[in-house]
C-alpha cells in the first residue's frame, strides 16, 4: 500500500499531526463541559427571537456588508484577473488574500474607525485577491478556439466579450454566488471586532450565557444561508446591490488625517520613529521575533497540522452521510442537515462557542476547524460518490465503503484537503484573537497595547506563512497530479 505516493503523503501528515497532538495544548478545562454544552443546545431548542431590538437590524447589516463587500471584491477581482499573468499582480493578489478579513478589519478600524468602509473593505480586499485568482483560472480554461477564428482586426474588447466571457459566465456566476455565501459568514464575524453585524450581538449574548438569544441568532443565520437560493435570484440581484449601500448604517465619520497618521507614524517601527538607529531597530525586531512571532508561528503550524488531519478524518467519516450508496432517504436528509449546519457555521463562531463551553486550549479550535472544513469536504465528496455507478454485485456496508468508494474518491479528497490547507492556516491564525496562542493572539495583543508597528509586522509574517503554505500545497497537488476545481 505504501507504494502509492498518495498513501505515503497521507501517513506523513498523519504522523505529523500525531506528533503535534503530543506537544499541543489539548484539554477541556471547564468543570462541567457537557452541562454547558447541554445548556447551549437547550438554548438553541428554545430560541428567543425578541431579545434585542437590534437583531433584525444586525441581520440586515450582515447582508448589506456581504453584498457591498463581495460586489466590490468581485469587480476588482475581475479586473485583476484580466492582468493576472503579470507576476507583480499575482504576488499582490496572493498577498492581499493571505490576510484574513478580521485582520483587515482590525487594520481599518485603526484609521477609518467605525465607518461602514471598514467592514466593506475588510471583505472586499481579501475577496478581490481570491476572485482574481479563481476568475483567471476559469478564464484560462475557456476554449481558445473561438478567439482564434475571429477576423483579424476584431477589437480585443469584442473578442473578450464574445469569445471568452460567455463560456466562463456560468462558472463565474456559480463561484460568485458561493463567495456571496462566504461573504455572509465573513460579514457576520466582523461583528466580533465591533462592526454592527450579527457577530456583535452573538458575542454579547454568548459571553453573558444568554443561550436562547444566541440560539435565535444562529438559527436566523442558518435560515439566511439555507434560503439563499430562494432570495438570491439573478433578477433581484441588481436591486439588492443598489440597495445594500444604504443599509450599511451610518457609523462614525472618517477623519482623513488619521489615515495619513497611520501610514506615516503608527506602523513605522518605534525605534525608527523615535530615531534610535539601526541597532535599536534590530533589537526591537529581534524581541518581536523571539517573544511573539516564533511562538505564534509554532502554535499556528502545530494547530494547523492537527486541524488539517482532523478535517480529513471527519470528511472521510462524514461523506457516507449524504452518499446514495448508504442508508435510506431519512438518514441522508438528516446527514444533509448536519453537513449544511457544519459548513454554514463560520469556524470563528464555532470556535468561539466551543471555547466558551470547554475552556481555553487548542481543542475547541481543532474541533471547530474540523467540523467546518470537514463539513465542506465531506459534502463535496459525498456528492461525488453519488455520480459513481457500482457494479450490481458490489459489496455492501463497510466493505463497500473501504473497497469501492474510498479508493475511488481518495485523490479528489486529497486535492480538496490540500486546497483547504492554506484556508485552515489562515483561520488558525485568526482564532488567536479568541485566546489561543496562535499568531492572531499576538496581533491582537499588540493592537490592544496600541503597538501597531508590532501588529503590522506580525500580520506580515502571518501573510508570508500563508503564502508559503499555499505554495507548498500547490506543489504537493502538482507532484501527486491532483486536480482541483475552484469551487471548494
Amino acid at each position: 500500500m505504501f507504494a502509492y505516493p498518495t498513501v505515503r503523503i497521507s501517513f506523513l501528515f498523519l504522523a505529523l499531526a500525531v506528533a503535534g497532538v503530543l506537544v499541543a495544548d489539548i484539554a477541556i478545562t471547564t468543570a462541567n463541559p457537557w452541562q454547558d454544552l447541554g445548556q447551549f443546545f437547550l438554548g438553541v431548542a428554545t430560541p428567543n427571537f425578541f431579545s434585542t431590538e437590534g437583531l433584525m437590524t444586525a441581520l440586515l447589516r450582515t447582508v448589506a456588508f456581504a453584498f457591498v463587500g463581495v460586489t466590490l471584491g468581485s469587480i476588482c477581482g475581475f479586473l485583476l484577473a484580466l492582468v493576472y499573468r503579470s507576476l507583480p499582480v499575482r504576488v499582490f493578489c496572493a498577498f492581499i488574500r493571505a490576510i484574513h478579513e478580521l485582520f483587515w478589519a482590525l487594520i481599518f478600524l485603526q484609521f477609518f474607525g467605525f465607518h461602514p468602509l471598514t467592514g466593506v473593505l475588510a471583505i472586499a480586499i481579501p475577496y478581490a485577491g481570491i476572485f482574481a485568482k479563481v476568475y483567471s483560472e476559469i478564464l484560462d480554461e475557456a476554449d481558445p478556439e473561438p478567439a482564434r477564428l475571429l477576423p483579424p482586426g476584431t477589437s480585443s474588447l469584442a473578442a473578450f466579450l464574445y469569445a471568452r466571457i460567455p463560456d466562463c459566465w456560468v462558472q463565474m456566476r456559480t463561484y460568485t454566488a458561493y463567495r456571496l455565501e462566504c461573504g455572509l459568514r465573513s460579514s457576520a464575524i466582523l461583528g466580533f471586532v465591533g462592526l454592527p453585524t450579527l457577530g456583535f450581538y452573538l458575542e454579547s449574548s454568548f459571553s453573558q450565557g444568554l443561550y436562547s438569544d444566541a440560539g435565535a441568532m444562529l438559527i436566523l443565520f442558518y435560515l439566511l444561508i439555507a434560503t439563499m437560493p430562494l432570495w438570491v435570484r439573478p433578477k433581484l440581484l441588481p436591486f439588492y446591490i443598489l440597495a445594500a449601500p444604504f443599509f450599511l448604517g451610518e457609523g462614525l465619520p472618517i477623519v482623513w488625517g488619521n489615515v495619513e497618521r497611520f501610514f506615516t507614524e503608527d506602523i513605522i517601527p518605534s525605534p525608527i520613529r523615535s530615531g534610535e538607529g539601526l541597532a535599536a531597530f534590530t533589537h526591537w525586531f529581534g524581541d518581536v521575533m523571539v517573544t511573539e512571532a516564533l511562538p505564534g508561528i509554532w502554535n499556528t503550524v502545530v494547530l494547523t497540522q492537527i486541524a488539517l488531519v482532523a478535517t480529513g478524518i471527519l470528511a472521510l467519516l462524514a461523506f457516507p452521510l449524504i452518499s446514495s450508496h448508504f442508508g435510506g432517504p431519512v438518514r441522508r436528509t438528516s446527514g444533509h442537515v448536519f453537513l449544511v449546519i457544519a459548513r454554514s457555521t463560520p469556524e470563528y463562531i464555532l470556535a468561539y462557542i466551543l471555547l466558551q463551553l470547554w475552556g481555553p486550549s487548542m481543542l475547541p479550535a481543532v474541533v471547530a476547524l474540523a467540523l467546518h472544513n470537514g463539513g465542506i469536504i465531506g459534502h463535496l465528496i459525498g456528492r461525488q460518490t453519488n455520480s459513481l455507478k457500482l457494479r450490481p454485485d458490489a459489496p455492501k456496508g463497510l466493505s463497500r465503503y473501504s473497497w469501492e468508494l474510498v479508493p475511488r474518491v481518495y485523490r479528489s479528497f486529497l486535492a480538496f484537503l490540500f486546497y483547504r490547507w492554506e484556508i485552515i492556516m489562515r483561520e488558525t491564525a485568526i482564532l488567536g484573537i479568541l485566546g489561543i496562542y496562535t499568531l492572531g493572539f499576538y496581533v491582537d495583543s499588540a493592537i490592544q497595547n496600541i503597538q501597531f508597528d508590532r501588529a503590522m509586522i506580525l500580520i506580515l509574517i502571518t501573510a508570508l506563512l500563508n503564502i508559503g503554505i499555499d505554495a507548498l500545497g500547490r506543489l504537493i497537488r502538482r507532484k501527486l497530479a491532483l486536480q482541483t476545481m475552484p469551487s471548494c
Partner: protein, 292 residues
C-alpha cells in the same frame, strides 16, 4: 441578456463607494471601555447620554465598542470626544492625543483595588500578602480580564512579576484573558480557571446583588490601592462645540447625582481628576512593557 447583470454590478459598486463616504452633522459622541457585560454597559451609558444631552444642549450619542483598544482608537481618531477609560487605557489615550485631559473620576477611583479570586476547589487559601500565596498559585490556571485592563491585567501582572520575579506564563500552567471582569468572575466560579484577577467594584456589586456563589469562589488577595477609572476628554472640543464646552462637560459629570445612574457604575459620585493623578499607572505600564 447575458451581460446585463455584470454591468449593473459595476454601476452599483461605484454607488457603494460614494454612499459610504457621506458625512454627518456634529454630534458629541462618547464611548467607554467594555469592562463588563454589554447589556449593563448599554443600560448605564444610555442613561449617561440622556443626562449629558439634557445638560449640554447638543446631541449626545454613546457607541459601544468591543475592546479597550477600540475605545482608545476611537478617541484618538476623534470619532469620540469623551470616554470613560480605565487607568491604563486613559494613559494610553492621553499619550496619543496631545491636549486631552482627565476631567473626572469616581470617588472610589482614587484608591482602586484588584481582587485575586480563586475557585474553592483549587485549594488556594486567602492570604495577607502575595508571597504567602506563592506555593498555592504555582502551576494553577489563571485568567486576567481584558488585555488592556488596568485592574484586570496591568496591576495584577505588575504585582505577580514584582513579587515572584517571573512572567505570569512561567508561574501558572495556563494563562488566559477572559475579556472582561464579569467573565473572569464567571470563569473562576465555574472552575474553568482556578484563579483570576478582577476589578474590586465588580466583585462587590455582584456580591451585593447576590450573583456570586460564595461556596465556589472567594477572594484570596487584595492589591494595594491605585488610581483607576476616569472621564477623559479631547482638547479640541471647545473649538468644535463652542467656548467653555469642556468646562460644561466637566461640571455636568461632577454634578451627576442620579442615584440609579451612579449605582450602575457603581460609584458614589464623581470628583475632579487630572492627568498627573495617573502618573503611577504610566510608570507601571512602562515597567512591564505595555507602554514603550
Amino acid at each position: 441578456m447575458t451581460m446585463s447583470p455584470l454591468k449593473k454590478w459595476l454601476a452599483a459598486g461605484f454607488l457603494a463607494l460614494s454612499a459610504a463616504s457621506s458625512a454627518q452633522a456634529d454630534t458629541f459622541v462618547f464611548t467607554a471601555i467594555p469592562d463588563e457585560d454589554e447589556t449593563k454597559l448599554v443600560e448605564r451609558f444610555r442613561g449617561v447620554a440622556d443626562y449629558l444631552q439634557e445638560q449640554l444642549d447638543v446631541e449626545v450619542r454613546y457607541i459601544p465598542v468591543k475592546s479597550y483598544a477600540a475605545a482608545v482608537s476611537a478617541f484618538r481618531n476623534n470619532q469620540v470626544q469623551l470616554a470613560w477609560f480605565g487607568g491604563l487605557s486613559g494613559v494610553q489615550a492621553r499619550r496619543l492625543v496631545p491636549g486631552s485631559e482627565a476631567i473626572a473620576q469616581g470617588v472610589e477611583d482614587e484608591a482602586f483595588e484588584t481582587y485575586f479570586i480563586a475557585n474553592t476547589a483549587s485549594g488556594v487559601k486567602p492570604a495577607d500578602s502575595l508571597d504567602e500565596l506563592g506555593d498555592d498559585l504555582a502551576g494553577k490556571t489563571f485568567t486576567f480580564g481584558s488585555k488592556g485592563s488596568t485592574s484586570g491585567r496591568l496591576m495584577p501582572e505588575f504585582y505577580l512579576r514584582d513579587v515572584f520575579s517571573k512572567a505570569p506564563e512561567d508561574l501558572f500552567s495556563r494563562v488566559g484573558f477572559s475579556g472582561n471582569h464579569t467573565r473572569t468572575l464567571r470563569l473562576v466560579e465555574a472552575g474553568t480557571y482556578q484563579v483570576g484577577a478582577l476589578n474590586f467594584q465588580v466583585w462587590e456589586k455582584e456580591l451585593e446583588n447576590g450573583n456570586i456563589d460564595t461556596d465556589a469562589v472567594q477572594v484570596v488577595w487584595k492589591t494595594p490601592s491605585y488610581p483607576d477609572y476616569q472621564w477623559t476628554i479631547r482638547g479640541d472640543v471647545d473649538e468644535r462645540f463652542g467656548e467653555g464646552f469642556k468646562q460644561k462637560v466637566t461640571e455636568a459629570l461632577l454634578s451627576l447625582d442620579d442615584p440609579a445612574l451612579l449605582e450602575s457604575f457603581p460609584r458614589s459620585g464623581f470628583i475632579p481628576a487630572s492627568n498627573d493623578d495617573y502618573e503611577p499607572i504610566r510608570a507601571t505600564a512602562e515597567n512591564i512593557g505595555i507602554l514603550d
